[in-house]
């Protein structure tokens, strides 16, 4: 257990060291949120309700979704992918811990730092815009659990995509694709409730909604209690399934390692 904590500490100090990267990527995400905020604002100026969402709910959704989506930023996978492409990952393979746990623990450490930064920023903005009304302890607790599970899902997906870099050199393209895919299907840009039905049925069978939409809905209260627990169950299920899929893919992908010197 101790070695995992050490790895996490490494991740934390990495997070602090590369803070300028993270801050710009966070700022970039924040711009996206700000744009959506104003788009929604202008929309709600014309009509009070859009697919069951009022402006009060939307204002919360925009910020909470940002919080859910900002940790585990682009930087960490880029680093993992760069290591794979440059061959530096061999050094990780030599360590007496599995490759995945190295990647995961590091990422978790970095994510903690990132999450803390974001929480301070978003928390302040959220309270300034919405006030503290409507936050109940039980929902807050469920939200936090769901958030952690969601981050788990995101991490596994990122791991999966970083392994694709065994087959291509174009890490930026692959990972950018991943980012756009998760942003879209997780509800980070638009609440999934607004999607047309045929896309909804597809999304409900995918893991992405667990990253943003589920924790957000739990927090702002669009899910009734029963649905909250169901959603949590599915999040756990996806974590397990993606973990297994990751192991299988790793076995396959790691067989193509060819490192030139080093």
């Amino acid at each position: 257990m101790k070695k995992y904590f050490t790895l996490m500490k490494c991740g934390m100090s990495e997070g602090i060291m590369y803070r300028s990267n993270f801050l710009t990527s966070m700022l970039a995400n924040f711009i996206q949120v700000a744009v959506l905020f104003f788009v929604w604002k202008s929309i709600f100026a014309y009509q009070p309700v859009v697919s069951g969402y009022t402006w009060e709910m939307m204002r919360k959704y925009v910020f909470v979704s940002f919080l859910c989506n900002s940790a585990l930023s682009f930087g960490f996978e880029m680093q993992a992918a760069d290591k794979i492409i440059s061959g530096d990952m061999v050094l990780d393979l030599l360590k007496p811990v599995s490759y995945r746990s190295i990647v995961f623990c590091r990422a978790a450490g970095t994510a903690l730092i990132e999450f803390f930064f974001t929480l301070v920023l978003v928390g302040a903005v959220y309270l300034a815009v919405n006030g503290a009304a409507g936050i109940t302890p039980i929902r807050l607790l469920l939200f936090l659990i769901s958030l952690v599970l969601g981050q788990g899902i995101k991490l596994q997906i990122q791991y999966f995509f970083s392994l694709i870099c065994f087959y291509t050199d174009n890490a930026y393209g692959v990972l950018k694709g991943r980012e756009i895919l998760t942003n879209f299907f997780s509800g980070a840009l638009i609440p999934l409730a607004m999607f047309p039905d045929f896309i909804r049925t597809v999304i409900d069978r995918l893991p992405f909604s667990g990253i943003v939409y589920v924790p957000c809905s739990i927090f702002i209260g669009t899910f009734p209690m029963r649905e909250c627990f169901e959603a949590l169950f599915f999040q756990i299920l996806w974590n397990v399934l993606l973990f297994l899929a990751g192991s299988i893919f790793w076995k396959k992908a790691s067989s193509v390692i060819s490192v030139y010197g080093g």
């Binding site: 990267n21 710009t24 970039a28 202008s42 393209g173 756009i180 942003n183 999607f195």
Partner: protein
């Protein structure tokens, strides 16, 4: 003078041609990027589509009009990727002192930097943007006259140039900032998000920033609103060439001053 520029132009294409040949080497990458770019653009367009499936208009603009804004943005982004992708590579070249070999060649450093890299993804982006333009224009009632066609072509070219200057200037800050990474250019790129929607929905402060400090409004909003016959941005339209000129001037100055400051860190 003209003869010299003509020579530069010929050399530019020669280098680009060499770059294009490198496609042969990265064929798998090319198809992968083709897939991912198309996918991500489909996602971006779906966001717009889904918003509009719930409501009729944003800030007085309907979906097809928004697509024209989007077309301007995507096309200019693609053109930077394809024609001037070297602008993205400046930081890395400075950090690894790769720029040294450019300094000793009898060609302008700027020209060599622009052509340092090519990204075929840009072609796909420009193609998709053309499709988006076609969709948008065929659903908007635009009174096409020769002047408007000319106006469209000119503003599109200017959009590409302004976009390139933005990335160029942001990248050139590495002359002063140093470091392996420069996130300013990514930052500049993401700010473009706001240009996907009409400027009127933002508060006045942000309006000022987008129109005059980081001139994204001159890339998409002002030209598109003229084409669509929206009122209220006549004089901004007249300023488009001026903004382009200013950006080019700054881009040139940044490079000149940067190079004067540059000290190689060895190779």
């Amino acid at each position: 003078m003209i003869k010299r520029w003509k020579r530069y132009f010929v050399i530019y294409w020669k280098i680009q041609l060499q770059n294009i040949k490198s496609l042969e080497q990265y064929r798998a990458d090319f198809f992968m990027m083709l897939f991912f770019t198309t996918l991500s653009q489909a996602c971006n367009l779906s966001v717009i589509g889904i918003i509009y499936s719930n409501i009729p208009s944003v800030g007085g603009w309907n979906m097809w009009e928004i697509l024209i804004l989007y077309g301007y943005l995507l096309f200019s982004e693609g053109s930077v990727n394809f024609f001037f992708q070297g602008a993205w590579k400046i930081t890395q070249m400075l950090n690894k002192a790769e720029i040294d070999r450019f300094l000793v060649r009898p060609l302008p450093v700027g020209l060599q930097l622009i052509t340092a890299k090519i990204d075929f993804d840009g072609l796909n982006k420009m193609f998709l943007a053309s499709v988006i333009f076609f969709l948008g224009f065929s659903h908007c009632r635009i009174n096409w006259r020769a002047v408007k066609v000319l106006y469209f072509v000119i503003t599109l070219v200017i959009a590409c140039i302004i976009r390139f200057c933005m990335i160029w200037i942001a990248s050139c800050t590495s002359f002063w900032l140093g470091g392996i990474k420069n996130s300013l250019n990514y930052f500049t790129l993401t700010i473009g998000e706001m240009a996907k929607y009409p400027l009127t929905i933002y508060p006045a402060v942000l309006n000022m920033v987008f129109a005059y400090i980081i001139p994204y409004a001159f890339i998409s909003y002002f030209p598109a609103s003229y084409l669509l016959g929206k009122s209220g941005c006549l004089w901004q339209n007249l300023m488009i060439p001026a903004v382009c000129g200013i950006m080019l001037f700054i881009a040139g100055q940044v490079l000149r001053r940067g190079l004067r400051r540059y000290e190689s860190n060895g190779n």
